[in-house]
Symmetry: C2
Subunit: 230 residues, 2 copies
């Protein structure tokens, strides 16, 4: 056994404080100075350990106030992937389409089972705006909004977060929107909405899977160059 580095020691110490219940969600961590003294490593090492936990969504730091344990919700941690998914090459994105297809299909089926009239009305409004929009960026935003609304209707926050992460990167590889593709895309949205409105989970699932698969086909055909996303 090689000896453990100072940052690893700090990380282990912090993780244990949270895992054993000493620190509950929302609690403030001891100050960096105190932690430094208690764990026996320098303040810099403590900070690096906190950075690690912060990157993973476990804690969040407020300057001047302190570092606080996060809510420890699965969705928060899944969302931390968004930053890194933005760096993936096209091949990896295509690999992730399989997850996206499965999860969006499931979310659509849940939405069909659970949605109410207000939700249907909201979805319909989004599609109205999307179909009449002429601005590409707006179309992309509305498309994302529609799919996220469907995913949220499923009622599982982690599922929504996962879909959001998977979708975020696809937008970095823009498929050129011709009249033809937009027509097909719009029709796909209406099919999903129709199945959700009819409370038909199977139809909704199939429609969502088909819609995602269609996007994947376009992406494989065009293989656009990546755009850097802030």
């Amino acid at each position: 056994m090689h000896d453990v580095s100072a940052v690893e020691t700090a990380l282990h110490g912090l993780r244990t404080l949270i895992a054993d219940g000493s620190l509950q969600p929302g609690d403030r961590l001891p100050s960096e100075g105190v932690l430094s003294e208690r764990i026996g490593v320098s303040r810099g090492s403590i900070r690096e350990a906190i950075r690690t936990l912060s990157a993973l969504g476990v804690v969040e730091t407020r300057r001047g106030a302190g570092t606080f344990v996060g809510e420890l919700r699965a969705a928060d941690m899944i969302r931390t992937l968004a930053l890194t998914v933005g760096l993936l090459p096209l091949e990896s994105i295509l690999e992730l389409f399989e997850l996206r297809r499965v999860l969006e299909a499931h979310a659509a089926s849940l939405a069909a089972a659970r949605c109410d009239d207000a939700a249907v009305s909201g979805l319909s409004t989004i599609l109205d705006r999307l179909e009449t929009s002429t601005d590409v960026d707006e179309q992309s935003a509305l498309d994302h909004e529609f799919h996220m609304a469907v995913a949220r209707l499923g009622g599982n926050e982690s599922l929504g977060a996962m879909v959001s992460v998977l979708r975020s990167r696809s937008r970095a590889y823009p498929v050129p929107l011709t009249d033809e593709t937009k027509r097909i895309s719009d029709a796909g949205h209406r099919t999903i909405l129709g199945a959700v409105t009819a409370h038909d989970p199977v139809a909704a699932s199939v429609a969502a899977a088909a819609h995602v698969a269609q996007s994947e086909v376009w992406l494989r055909e065009h293989r656009p160059a990546p755009e850097i996303i802030g």
Copy 2:
């Protein structure tokens, strides 16, 4: 707009270097000293930015040698969630069971479509050992091994990584294994293997979903206290 912090500046700089292709997977980053001078922030801030990317699986550091861009594979980044999932409370785990059910079911259907005789033989061997084992830890390990083997058979590395992450935490909330539960669990495994062997994707999917759902039911019934996992 408040001004951007030094670490954020460093993070943005590093992220851009990777996103715009200046740094390819496997490449070595400029040394911390050089980055510090080039980006215009202190070495400490550079290190914190690198820690962030390291925590997310984007780069990896080797002492004395340098920091290198990772392979930028989706599976690697998904795996970084394992550390944080280990801190989630039971409620979050139950929420994640929905994802697990959907993804494992899909993985099983893929496995059924794609597996060969050697794979079936390997899976069967695992179950043989699992069914005759009397050691709880060994049973847990073999159970995990079986499910991961099935997930890998799906051929999608990201899917396997996701299933692995989702499963890793469940093991921290151990359901007491009675003769009854073990019998049901073993039968579930055999059902999955049978469907996979028969190349019946639908049956495999249903069997896997049922198996995961059964685990969820047990977990909801017993609600065991968490065990801290190293």
